[in-house]
Every structure is written in C-alpha cells, then in structure tokens.
C-alpha cells in the first residue's frame, strides 16, 4: 500500500506543533485516497513516534544518524530524498515553515522533482492543487507533472488536531547514507536572544502619534513598552515635530514593522503610516475618534484618551506581574 509520507519537523527531539497540521492534512488525504500515513523523523526519536501515531501516522521511519543529531538542511534534505526513494510514497508532505519548506526544497532538488510550497487545498481525486502566493493574499491553482507529489501545507490552513482514530505509530528504523561533507550546513551554535530589540524585531510596538502631544508625553508609552519587552514607535507627524528621532518612525519613509501586537496610540492611521504598520499581526488602536482609519482597521480598539488609558494599562500589567 502506497503512502502519504509526512516530514516530522523537530528541534532537539521535540516535534514542532506545525507538524500536527501536516499530519492532519495527510490523514484526511490518505483516508480519502486509500493510502497509509507514514512519518519520517530525523535524528533521535524521543517519543515522537507515539505523538505522530496519535495524529494518525500508521508507521514512523526514524532516520538516526550522527549528522542528524541537530538540524542541518542538507543532511535532512538528503535523508528525506533517500526515504522517498526507498519508500516510494505517492505524496510527501511537510508543514510550510522555514524548516519544512527548506528540507522539502533540498529533497526535491536532489530528486529533481517539483515541490509545491504552502498548499491550502489538495484533493486526492483532483489534479489541481491550491497554494498561496503573496503571503496568502492570493491563491494559485497548479497541476503537477511528477511521479511523487511533494508539497508543504500552508501554516494554519489545516487544524492540527489529534486523530479520531489514532494510527499505530509503528517505528521503523531507516538508515540514510550521508556524506560527511553535509555537516557543512549543520547548526554549530545557538544563542538565546538577548536585548537589542529593534522596531522591526520587537514583539510589541507602541506607536504614538500627534495626539500624544509633546516629546515629554512619551514617557508613559516608554514605561509600558519596557514592561512588555517592546519598543516605542511614532508617526511621521511626530518626527516632523522633532519629538522623536527618525529611527522611531513607523511608516513608508520610516520602518516597516511586523510585531505580534501593535498598539497605536493617538494615531489616525494616515496611509503612509499604515503602510509601515499593516504587517502587524494584531493591532490595538487607542483613539478618541471612532472613525479614525486606525480604529476601523484594528482588531481591537479603545475609544478614549491615551493619556489616562496608558497609565491605567501599565498599572494593570504591573498588578498581574506582581510588580
């Protein structure tokens, strides 16, 4: 029985949650197509076979090799290519993460097979597959001329739930033949992120607009930003007034940010500012004007005066942090 082979993404023995999405996709696809779900673990198994089984994998190929004890795109890609050659799966699936796409690309290059990244819809009976373009702003339907369908599933396109009927998760050792030269792209060191957060890397950005009122009035924003491990940004009007340096400017002519949360305080959301802020994953607008562009575009808003709200939020944060 041919299979759907899922690449298990793991780091130092822990399965990446995104792999659950790939397994969920694989299990539905396999059920509809009458295929078995297989998984490939690179490096130490450390319980991942059971986890894969719980998400529907019938068998788990474990590629244990010294070169795979930590991540290396070439070694992992070569391993996947050899597994594909050995097991001849009908479909190979990874999650569309940095590593997932990278290993799939490495394997596809080695096999000279096409690889379809970030799919959102793939049906067993249909020849057309749907994938994302433009970071999901657009969809592309493609057909594939290949003996093996290699694809990754777009993050969050499928829910990584447990299988209603778990797979056996039967382990099977797989021994890839890896040349020592592949160590050239293995991780040699890791550093834990420390300070030096910038506007473009900060998880939280607190933006202040003309509504803040003066250079001095940014102090409460600074305090909250520090509590949240974030940075203060501002609009062009603010740098034009000389309240903040240009390096703090978020916008078309300043920095384009993409934090987990952007708190826009007294910022109307002029288009030039919006261009710099729109990649934020979540936006909280604090503004007295409920028609302001930033308010209508934000996921959450407080319609009120930032000068009273920010200190209140800061106090609440301190309370919960026990400060």
């Amino acid at each position: 029985m041919s299979s759907v082979l899922v690449l298990v993404e793991s780091d130092q023995g822990a399965m990446a949650p995104a792999t659950h999405e790939a397994l969920a996709f694989a299990r539905d696809f396999a059920a509809a197509a009458g295929l078995a779900v297989h998984a490939l673990v690179c490096g130490t198994e450390s319980g991942m076979a059971v986890e894969a089984g719980a998400h529907g994998a019938a068998s788990v190929h474990v590629a244990d090799h010294p070169l795979l004890d930590d991540y290396g795109p070439e070694a992992w890609g070569e391993t996947l290519a050899q597994a594909i050659t050995q097991y001849a799966p009908a479909v190979v699936v990874a999650c569309g993460t940095d590593r997932g796409n990278e290993v799939m690309a490495q394997a596809a290059a080695r096999l000279d097979l096409p690889f379809v990244a970030n799919c959102t819809e793939v049906e067993p009976g249909a020849t057309e597959m749907t994938r994302t373009q433009w970071g999901g702003s657009l969809l592309e339907q493609v057909t594939l001329d290949a003996s093996t369908r290699m694809l990754s599933v777009a993050p969050h396109a499928f829910e990584g739930s447990l299988a209603a009927v778990p797979g056996a998760g039967m382990m099977d050792m797989f021994a890839p033949v890896l040349d020592d030269s592949l160590s050239r792209t293995k991780i040699v060191d890791r550093v834990v992120l420390s300070s030096g957060i910038t506007l473009s890397t900060a998880p939280v950005v607190i933006g202040g607009g003309r509504g803040v009122g003066s250079a001095e009035a940014y102090a409460p924003l600074e305090e909250l930003a520090e509590l949240l491990g974030g940075r203060v940004g501002c609009s062009r009007a603010v740098t034009n007034n000389g309240w903040r340096p240009h390096s703090d400017q978020v916008g078309q002519t300043g920095t384009r940010i993409a934090p987990e949360l952007y708190i826009a305080c007294g910022i109307s959301g002029a288009i030039q500012h919006w261009v710099g802020a729109k990649a934020s994953k979540n936006i909280l607008a604090i503004n007295t004007d409920n028609e302001a562009n930033m308010v209508t575009k934000a996921g959450h808003a407080v319609i009120g005066d930032l000068h009273t709200l920010i200190p209140a939020i800061t106090a609440e944060v301190k309370k919960r942090k026990g400060l």
Partner: protein
Amino acid sequence: MSDFPTNAKVVVIGAGIVGNCLVGHLARLGWTDLVLVEKGPLPNPGGSTGHASNFIFPVDHNKEMALLGEQSANQYRDMELSVDSGGIEVARTQERMDELNRRMTSAKAWGIEAHLLTPAEVKELVPFINEDVIMGGFYCPTVSVVDSLETGTTMRKEAIEKAGCQVFANTEVLDLITEPSHVPGQTKIKAVVTDKGTIEADYVVIACGVWSNRVANMADAYIPLAPAVHQMADVGPMDILAETNNEIGYPIVRDMDTFCYERQSAGSMEVGSYGHRAILHHPDEIPSNEEAALSPTEMPFTPDDFDPQMETAIELMDMLGEAEIKYAINGLLSLTPDTMPCLGEIPEVRNLWSAAAVWVKEGPGMAQVVAEWMTYGYPRVIDVHGADIARFYEEEKTDQFIFSRADEHFIKTYGIVHPSEQWICERNLTVSPYFSRQEALDAYFFTARTWERPQWYGSNADLVERYGLSERANEWDNRWWSPITIGEHLNLRENCGMVDLSAFQVYELEGPGAVEFAEYLAVNKVDKPVGSSTYTPWLTPDGGFHSDLTMMRVAEDKIRIVTGVFDGGRDSFWVKKYLPEDGSVTFKDITMETTTLGLWGPNAPAVLAKICDHDLSQQGSPYGSLRNVEVAGIPCTLFRISYVGDTGWEIYTAWDNGPALWDALMEAGADQGLRPTGGGVYGTSGRLEKGYRLMGAELESEYNPLEAGLARPKVKAADFIGKEAYLAAREAGNEVSMCTLTVESHADSNGVDRYMQGGNEPILDLDGNRITDSHGRVSRVTTAGPGPSVGKFLLMAYLPNDKAVVGTDLQVMYMNELFPVKVAAIEGSVFDPEDTRLKG
C-alpha cells in the same frame, strides 16, 4: 456611529481640504442638516490633499488666484495651522529675471511684501544653495507652509459642532439621481446613492478632487479636469535641515527655470517637479485605497521622468546628491483645460455644485467662495468669473479636449506665461463661416474659448508702411502683437474696416413671458418697441456685474440676447437658472445659426449703400436700432451700434449666408479703403479710445454700474435681479470711477520703450504707494493698449474719487519699473468725446 440619513439639506462629497472647509464655511453661514461623505478613511482619505507639499506662494499674476490664495493663507493662519517659512523663486536666466520683475509688480498690486535678492543675499537665507548657478531671487517672506489635513479636520469638527454635520467616512458614492427640471436639457439633483444608503438632498456638492469628473458624470454632468502627475521625492536626512528642529526652518526655494522646488520637511528635503513630461491619468485608472501601494493619488514613481530634474536640483544644492531618496511618488493633482478651478453650480444639473480643481494653496478660500455662492446667490469675497464652472462650452468638456489642454499647460505650471499667450492644441474647433477667406488673407488667429478669431490680417501688412509703424523694441511687449493692428485701426478711422463677430453668443427668449423675464434679468429697460435694443448690465443679487450685454426686442414676444464669447456659458446658465417655471418663456441658443459682420468707419455708410437700398441715415437706421433689410439680396438685420467709436453696423444674417455677405461687402468696399480688421482693433484699441468697458476686465461682480460709469439717470420701475442692492449703491454714491489714463513716458531705466500688457499692473501715487479704496479694492490696469488716433498708449483702471480727476498725475508699475501716467478721461472717451463720429 449614527444611523445613515435618508435626507439632508446638503450632501458634500469628498473630505479633502475643499470638502472639509466647505462644510465648515456652510456651518459658519448658518446652514444646518449637512452630510459629508467620503470614500476613503479619515483624516487622510487618499486624495491629493494627503500628499500635498502644502506651501503657499501668495504672488500670482491672476487676480482670482492671488487673492484667494492670500485669503486661504490667512484662514490657515487663523487656525494656527500655518508657519511663514518664506520662499524664494530663483532665476537662472535673464528671461526669468524679467519674470521676477513682473512678479515684483504683481506683489505690489496685491500688497504682498517681496524683495529682489542678489545671489549672495539668497545664500544668506539658504546657506546650502549654490549661488553660482543663479542670477537672483524673488523673496516673499509670507510664503507659508500649512497643515492641510489638520485644517480639514478642524473645519470638519467646526461643522459638526456648529451645524451637527454628519460625517461618513469609508462611504462610496455609487450614483447621483436626478429628476427633470423645468428647463429643457437641464435636470435637477435628487439624491446621492452610496454603499451605505441613499440620501435625498436639496443640494449636492462635488469636492472629489481628481475624481470629480467621474462623480459628475454619474449625473450626466461634467467637471472638466484631468488628474495629472506631479513628481515629488523626499530626500534625506540632512544634518543642516535636522538642526532646525522643526518642520521647516529655511525658505522654500522654487528653481523656476528647471520647474522644481526644494522644500524642507523636518530633516529631509522634498524635491518636487513640474518639469517632466505631462503624465495624465483618466480617473478610472486611479486605484482604490485597497489597490494602491501608498494611496490612490500617490502613484508609482517613474524615476526616468525625474532624472533630469534631479541633476538640476543637485546643481542648485549639492547636498541633495548625497542624501537618500526615501520616498518618491507620482502625486496626482487636478488640471483643467484652461488652468482655472471649477467652482459653482454645474449648468447641466440644478443644485449640483462643483468645488473642484482646487489645490491646497487656495482650498479654504475657494470653499468660502462656494459656500457664499450657495448662500447669497453669488460669492462675496471676490469675483470668480474665471473659475465659474459655467464658463465651459460643450466642446471643452470632452476627454480629448481636457487631456490635450492639460497636457499642453502642465509644463507652464512654473513657466513664464504671457498675458496674451495662445493655445497650440485643440484649435479650429469652432470657426466662423469666413474662416477659409480669413486664412487666405493670412489672418493671425487668437482663440476665444473654442472659437478662432482673427487678431489681425497679414494681408494688411502694407498698412504698416503706409502709416509708418514699427514693431515694439522689447520682445515681451511685442509678443503676440503686430503693428498691423495699429494700421488696421488707423485705416478704420480713415476709411473703414470689417470685423468678423461670429463668435458672438446669440440667444432668444420667446413666449408670452419673454419681455417680463428679460426685464427681470436686466438693469435697463428692455420693454421697448420692436426694433429697439438695450445695452445693459445684468447684476448679481448683491448688485455687482454678472454680465454686460445687448438685448434686442426682435418681436413682440421675442428678445434676442447678444453677449461675448468669453461669457456665453455663464450668461446662458444665468438665464436658465432664473427661467420662469410656468413655461411662459422658452430659451434658445441660435449662435450657430447666426453670423455677424461689423462694418465701421467714415466710409461704412457709403460701402453699405452700394449694396443696400435701405435708408441708412440716422432717420432710416437710427443709432441702437434694428432694421431687417436686404444686403446684396441677402436677408440681414442691421444693428446700428459701434464698439469702436466710428459709425457703422453689426450686420446679422443666417450662418449659411455669411460667405456671400462677406464677398459682397468686400467688393463694395474695394474702392472705399475697406479692410478686414481684427480683434486687436475691435477688442482693444478701438474700444479703449472710447473707454468702453469689457466684461471680465473692467466689469466684475466686485464693481457696480455706478463705479463703472454705466448707471442711467433713472431706475426703471420693473423689478430686476440686484435691484435692491443697486438702489442702495445709488444712494451711497460711488467711491471709485472707471478712468482712462495715458502713459506719458514709455522709456524704462535702460532707455527702452515699454508697453504695459494689461496684466493687473498697479496704479501708484507719485510716492509709489498702492491706491486702494475702503473695500480694499486696488487700482490696477484692467486693460492696456494703444490709442493710435490719440497718439497715446492707454490704460483703464478704477480710481478713487480724489484721484479720478482729469489731469491727475500718477504712476504705473510695469516689470518693476515706474512709468508716469495721467488721468485723461473719467467714464468717457479720450477719442471723439462728443461721439460725433458715431452718428456718421
């Protein structure tokens, strides 16, 4: 958010600088029940206001633009959303230095402080300029930088607070619904359909900037404007700019000869250009807010177009070369086919108004104009006949015309534009029946809106020798001019001349209410026997001039209206606006069915007598009378009148008969010295010698008939528009009078004779001071031109009564030099003041 309304007194579409200021001004004037809808988000909906460079150079040669620019600058100042950065226009060429002298003259006219600077003085103000590439600068300390977005927000809030104006952002207008009006061919606005609902409204105003024509088209109406690209690049940061620690610390520099400006914006410099090829976009091509990378009117920058400007900018300011181009756009702004804005009620649709083709620099003032217009039936702050949207003819509303003309004049944004400058494109749209004959006579044509009119005839070049005439020494003064026009003038006075008047706009009012309605329009009595005519002002409700024209009683229930081609659109709209609703009067435009030839000069009666059996004496054809006769067998109407000071007729006939009439008159006049004669005589030298006023020059809504010297001894009993104000003005008496002045010496400081062009040159007292009246109206040249038969160059100007005395010595400023002038006539003629020659 409030519920979406189903009806309102006024719906204003568009919340840019104009729409916001308009609701604010309407609220100030007491309007309530206002709704402002805007397709984009607030406060920056994505129109041209959002990317404007936001500076105001107050000096403009055009009176409407200068005074409304100043009015706007003051409104920004009043809101404390403006800073006087000062500004310098620098010259790299002698031609531009001459233009800067002309700028100095206009600054004097409008009372705006300005100084001519040497290159070294420019460098003192702008230390990073390369003074070696410039010859001098025109410095205006009151050049200001404004915050147009904040001003819009402030005015919008004022409207919300004062008048409960309801504001709906992110609301797209999908359609305008009209209903039939009582005027054939005209509809009436009924409702605005938006994606949030439909609002029935008494008034709708389109203030949609570059999208205005598209919105007007929803009501089968037109706002003739083209969205055009103005390129702008923001370069920086630069330490010397950042050190000022404010939005702008150095004067704005306009590098006029390269069509660029450099304007500090905090630590950066905005380099803007009007020097690239004209890049026009159809409104349908402008992306939506969602589709646009930046905003709809910040189109993708096309660097190849900007490169030449960039090189010249670096020549002027070397530091620009090392700074980074952080942001660059092809910014859209509005251009109209004749360069002027589009304000007022749209002729096609009653109660649908336009407030469009307005830039930030004149936004608040023009919003005030429209608000006053809606409130009082006419603007009060200033006469705006040049911006009145009713001025356009149908031919001027086609995309072809709009885009061709905008394409031609884009480069003139910073150009040196002569007061008589002629258009190159879209010519010959409307030509008279004599056009082929005129071309054969080597006529030099001037355009009058869509019409072609001979200004002089090359075939008359022999007159230059006959009368010993010469070209003018200065090229600027000689541009768009020929001494042939003097020859034609002198020949008319000596023999006779024939003038093509086909561009006259001719309308007929017919029906049982025609005479009564005509009386309501006119100051002077129209209800006279059939065959009579009335030369009369039409007044605004405030008693100023709306029009100045002739009305003829051609039948018991039929009045013919004859007006000038520059005023036809406004005048026909005025008639339709007031046309009785009871159907007692019909209005018909017969311009293209009628042609007119003017025949004047001492030999005119003899020429006409050869081919016309009618009694041409003052008994058979009295001054001001209409007589239906045959001329060379062609049915004609003889109208004994003269705008040039010699006896003769306007001869009206059917369009198709025109060529035969032309040929017959030319043949009859061959041995009488008859020459085809151009507009230079008819419109300028002939009328100037007689002191005849011209609508749009001497006559504007800011002046009344008393001041213009056109008030009759008595006021008729019948009611007419503006009567109350007119009676009050008669009661108060006139503070100024229309005067003719003679130039006493033409020599400038280089000994070159100079000739004023009639471009608002200020009249000054002998101490060099401006002359103004209690309303702030300035004495300035309204028309200038030769008076060949009096041997003097003539100027017309309003003067306060103490100066309006024959023999008073004054000065005129021209090209920043002073020339002595003398008051020669008050409300009268310098040539044949007794009008003996008119009777023939």
